[in-house]
């Protein structure tokens, strides 16, 4: 595991929106091919970490490196081209565009790529429901289908790292399962994943490693097995 190259390196990340910091010095690493999750209570700052990686937080300092590039000098619109695809919190689709157009827009910064039809086929294999609804307007899809569109749109980029912000929030249990099966497939296809998830049991099921975030600080980290055995995690997040 440790032989794999460092993909994402975060050191001493402080970030916030107004005067106050939301993140007070975060250290986090992802090696090539890892599936890592961040767990933590509401307002702990989980989304802010993902948004800082995507350069969407107005104020952030500290080391942010991705595959050799210094992220802190990049603007948010330059991040996807580096190979980072972000599925933001909430079901963010383009409602008046077809499923296909939504997916195509995911490759916005890779428009010159010649294999876009193949990429779309792979997404349809991952989410067969989207193939059936390829020409339907995304705004008329069910919540779960919209989230599939959002994930599929991110995959159109062929990212090295996929950032997932509570992708199963508010979805029916069956759809949540479907979604997590898809994440495991995406991961085994070679894409590294950083997953933020409220459903801690599920997150530790699919991810290999995890970080516990409390009010802007990492308080625990370890393999998923370690974390799910940890008494504090069990009490606070697994309700055991």
């Amino acid at each position: 595991m440790n032989a794999a190259a460092l993909l994402l390196e975060i050191k001493g990340l402080r970030a916030g929106y107004g005067e106050v910091d939301v993140l007070h010095g975060i250290d986090l690493e992802i090696r090539d091919g890892e599936f890592v999750c961040i767990i933590g209570a509401n307002t702990a700052g989980k989304s802010t970490i993902l948004r800082a990686i995507s350069r969407l937080v107005p104020r952030a300092s500290g080391t942010l490196r991705f595959a050799g590039a210094d992220l802190s000098t990049r603007a948010s619109h330059e991040v996807p081209a580096l190979g980072i695809a972000h599925v933001p919190e909430g079901r963010h689709v383009f409602p008046d565009m077809s499923v296909e157009d939504n997916l195509m827009l995911g490759a916005f910064t890779a428009r010159s790529a010649s294999d876009l039809p193949e990429r779309m086929q792979r997404i349809f294999e991952l989410f067969p429901r989207l193939r059936e609804r390829r020409s339907q307007l995304a705004g008329t899809l069910s919540g779960g289908e919209q989230q599939m569109v959002a994930v599929g749109r991110a995959l159109m980029l062929n990212p090295k790292l996929l950032l997932l912000d509570e992708p199963s929030h508010g979805l029916a249990p069956k759809v949540v399962e479907e979604m997590h099966d898809a994440f495991v497939k995406i991961h085994s296809g070679g894409t590294s994943i950083l997953l933020v998830e409220q459903n801690v049991g599920l997150a530790l099921d699919v991810a290999t490693r995890g970080y516990v975030l409390e009010t802007g600080r990492i308080t625990l980290q370890g393999s998923s097995a370690e974390l799910s055995q940890n008494p504090a995690v069990r009490a606070a997040y697994l309700g055991i």
Binding site: S54, H77, F108, A150
Partner: protein, 324 residues
């Protein structure tokens, strides 16, 4: 093909109408202002429709345009045709300056901030007397009639210039809407958060749109100055008569569509004139009251603009065809 033919027919009809009106009469004036306001609403439609940022401050750019070309003509004898481009440059610059701090604002906050900007420009024009002539306004100096000097004895040439302006601004609108920039704007409009994470530089696209919109609006301010011959700060920087009216025209016609501002202007400007004609003898403000009531009724009837009337007519026609 059929579409281009229809378009050519509409332009041909529009080109003939001015000839049918009494060249020294009242209706040629109404027509000129209708065309001008349609062009203004189309310029507004770039930022208000394509970028979905409801500006209520477009009078700022309009007034800047009217003053720029007129001051250049008065002080340096520069033809308003050239002054129009200086107006466009200044209008674009002003749009950039106001857009940088305000474009982050959403919805009502953006509308209020731009409204305030328009009012600030009005106040500045009123107090900066050495340059603008202050509240007394400016008269466009008389020059011997010629096309090069943008000076005409009659309104007819002005009507054609306004028509040409409307065609050009509409062409620019359509070009942007159908192009890569329009695609980016559409993504931003439909879901800003999603547009950001797929790598669209949302700030840059909106700024570009704001600058083009402001520049065009300022150039139309020059056309207005040449038709009106006299204007003052309270007219060209008016929140009600310019800023809100152009937004209303586009919204009433169908915001974000090329035909919307044209339909809106064809309705609002003549109806407003008609109301003034019919009811100005009555109690003070009666005509405005009736005009306001008509606007409310229309918005309730067609909340998404007259353009939807066309869509439902076409749908009905298509059903009829299918039945046959």
């Amino acid at each position: 093909m059929k579409k281009w033919f229809a378009l050519a027919a509409v332009i041909a009809v529009a080109a003939v109408v001015p000839l049918l009106l009494n060249p020294t009469g009242y209706w040629i004036r109404v027509l000129t202002f209708t065309l001008l306001f349609a062009a203004m609403a189309q310029a507004w439609n770039l930022i208000g429709g394509l970028a979905n940022q409801t500006s209520l401050g477009h009078a700022a750019f309009f007034g800047i345009g009217a003053y720029t070309s007129t001051i250049l003509l008065l002080k340096f004898g520069i033809s308003p045709w050239l002054g129009m481009f200086a107006a466009g440059a200044l209008g674009g610059l002003a749009a950039l300056v106001i857009a940088i701090p305000t474009l982050r604002l959403q919805g009502h906050y953006f509308a209020l901030a731009t409204l305030a900007f328009g009012e600030v420009m009005r106040v500045i024009a009123n107090v900066w007397t050495p340059l603008t002539g202050g509240p007394g306004g400016l008269s466009v100096p008389f020059t011997p009639p010629s096309f090069a000097a943008y000076s005409f004895k009659q309104l007819l040439p002005h009507a054609y210039i306004a028509l040409a302006a409307l065609i050009i601004v509409t062409a620019i609108f359509e070009f942007i809407r159908r192009g890569a920039m329009g695609y980016r704007l559409r993504a931003i409009r439909e879901n800003q958060a999603a547009a950001e994470v797929i790598g669209i530089d949302t700030t840059k696209v909106k700024l570009q749109t704001a600058v083009i919109s402001g520049a065009l609006m300022a150039m139309l301010g020059t056309l207005y100055a040449q038709v009106a011959v006299f204007f003052d700060p309270d007219t060209v920087f008016s929140a009600a008569a310019i800023s809100i009216r152009v937004a209303l025209i586009a919204i009433l016609g169908g915001v974000g569509t090329a035909a919307g501002p044209i339909l809106g202007a064809l309705f609002i400007i003549p109806v407003e004139e008609l109301m003034n004609d019919l009811f100005s003898a009555g109690a003070a403000g009666l005509s405005q009251l009736i005009f306001g009531a008509i606007l409310i009724a229309v918005i309730l009837w067609r909340p998404r603009g007259f353009i939807t009337l066309w869509d439902s007519l076409r749908a009905r026609f298509a059903r009829g065809e299918a039945r046959r």
